[in-house]
Amino acid sequence: MDLSYIAALMPALMQGLWQTLKIFALTLVFSLPLGLVFTLGSISRVLPLRWLARGYIWIFRGTPLMLQLFFVYYGLPFLGLTFDRFPAAVLTFVLNYAAYFAEIYRGGIQSIDRGQHEAAKTLGFTPWQTMRLIIIPQTVSRVIPPVCNETITLVKDTALVTAIGVGELLKAAQGAVNRDVNITAYVVAAVIYLAITFVMTMVYERLEKYFSRHQKKEA
């Protein structure tokens, strides 16, 4: 492998990487909280809310992300909603990942013993106080490993945005392979993806330690 060739590949790959990171970061920032909204909806005792949230999760987990991209970008203009390429890509990713995060959070919340809800009730906590002050803080450390899993999937899913003409890392590598008839760019792209997921894994490990610090003391 020729180092000067790899150096020549870097400007294009770095521009692709920047796009990948932007989509990744924006998706996380919006879908992590949005997921919680759908979780609370899906366990709500208000039936229409519950059906709405569960229907949403069903649709976004039940159809391919690629199809959702096509639908948002090419289909919504028929309903009078036209987005540019990049916002369309981010919007689709946020909506899709929120559905997955919602189910991860629900798993975490429902893993907390029912008795705690009853105990909180006898102490005079409202259901919302119970959720906010007692249940959710305990679920954070439990949901971090599956959220980390999903985040790593997200890093790799960003490559799908080329379907609606948004550039990213893998596309940049494909361009170089196409131009030079040399697969080095794929290898470099793989190393970059691995570096990102390595950093993500580290960050989540730290977070997991931090959020489970009280449980450690009790044990």
Binding site: F71, A172, A176
Partner: protein, 294 residues
């Protein structure tokens, strides 16, 4: 909800339209002579989109907004691709820039996914597809095509140590080509297709075909000359070229079905570029010869 379903259906139709580019329906359509597609999914997607959105663009529209939005696959060397500084270069880039100068507008290049080009056009995201696109009967049905501008043909490139005598001999070798490509359409229309179809593998891109050639799993690839020769030059001419070919494969620019006035304006502008010698200059730069259709 009903509206949502109909939009989903339109999207699905459009998808199926792009997915089965090699569909044989166009043959019955062109065989009928009336130019009426006989129930091909393409015509349904077209009508669904034009009735809902109804984009149409004239030369006056283009000149009013001051730009022609050109959809292209920016990973298609040597027609349109990124150089090492990530700048868009290529034969079609230079030609389109010259033609837009002639029209008095700016050329805006919009990278798209090649499989989605029909949807990009019908939803008005781009004004034309200009990216080494071959004329096929199917595209003649669904787009308004410019006059052919570049001479090209479908050739057979052979791996090291492989000698193929003639078309019939192809049946004895492992062959590859790109799915949804003009090469594949031409092969399918050829009488030799039945004999070679079991030997023929379709790939997403020609880059994958080349990789499989290099891995030794393929004996030959069927590709258009402009693309094949460019790749071969990048590989120090590792592949050979068979002495026979599958005939002409002419490139054209695709516009929305109804935009015939804009198509004609671009035809005239290309003619003007040929007249002025500008087109020959661009062709010399990229192919070392003038291969423009005169």
């Amino acid at each position: 909800m009903k509206k949502t379903i109909s939009v989903l259906l339109a999207a699905a139709l459009a998808l199926s339209f792009t997915a089965c580019g090699g569909d044989t329906s166009y043959q019955t359509a062109s065989g009928a002579g009336s130019g009426e597609p006989s129930g091909g999914s393409g015509s349904q997607a077209q009508s669904a989109s034009s009735s809902a959105a109804g984009y149409s663009t004239t030369l006056a529209d283009i000149q009013a907004k001051g730009e022609l939005v050109i959809g292209l696959d920016d990973t298609f060397a040597p027609m349109g691709f990124r150089d090492e500084n990530n700048d868009l270069v290529g034969f079609d880039i230079d030609l389109a820039t010259a033609v837009c100068e002639e029209l008095g507008v700016k050329a805006v290049f919009q990278p798209i996914d090649w499989k989605a080009k029909e949807m990009e056009l019908s939803t008005g995201k781009i004004d034309c597809v200009w990216n080494g696109m071959s004329i096929t009967p199917e595209r003649q049905q669904t787009m308004s095509l410019s006059d052919p501008y570049l001479n090209n043909k479908i050739i057979v490139m052979t791996n090291q140590g492989v000698e193929i005598a003639d078309k019939e001999d192809l049946a004895n070798y492992k062959l590859g080509t790109q799915a949804d490509s003009s090469a594949l359409e031409v092969i399918k229309a050829d009488s030799v297709y039945d004999a070679i179809k079991d030997q023929l593998t379709e790939y997403d891109t020609y880059d994958q075909v080349i990789m499989d050639m290099q891995a030794g799993r393929l004996d030959a690839m069927i590709v258009d000359e402009v693309l094949g020769q460019y790749k071969n030059t990048q590989m120090d001419n590792a592949f050979g070229v068979a002495s026979f070919d599958f005939g002409d494969d002419l490139y054209a620019i695709g516009f929305r079905k109804g935009d015939t006035e804009l198509t004609q304006a671009v035809n005239d502008a290309i003619a003007a570029c040929i007249e002025s010698g500008k087109a020959a200059e661009v062709s010399e730069k990229w192919f070392g010869a003038d291969i423009m259709v005169q």
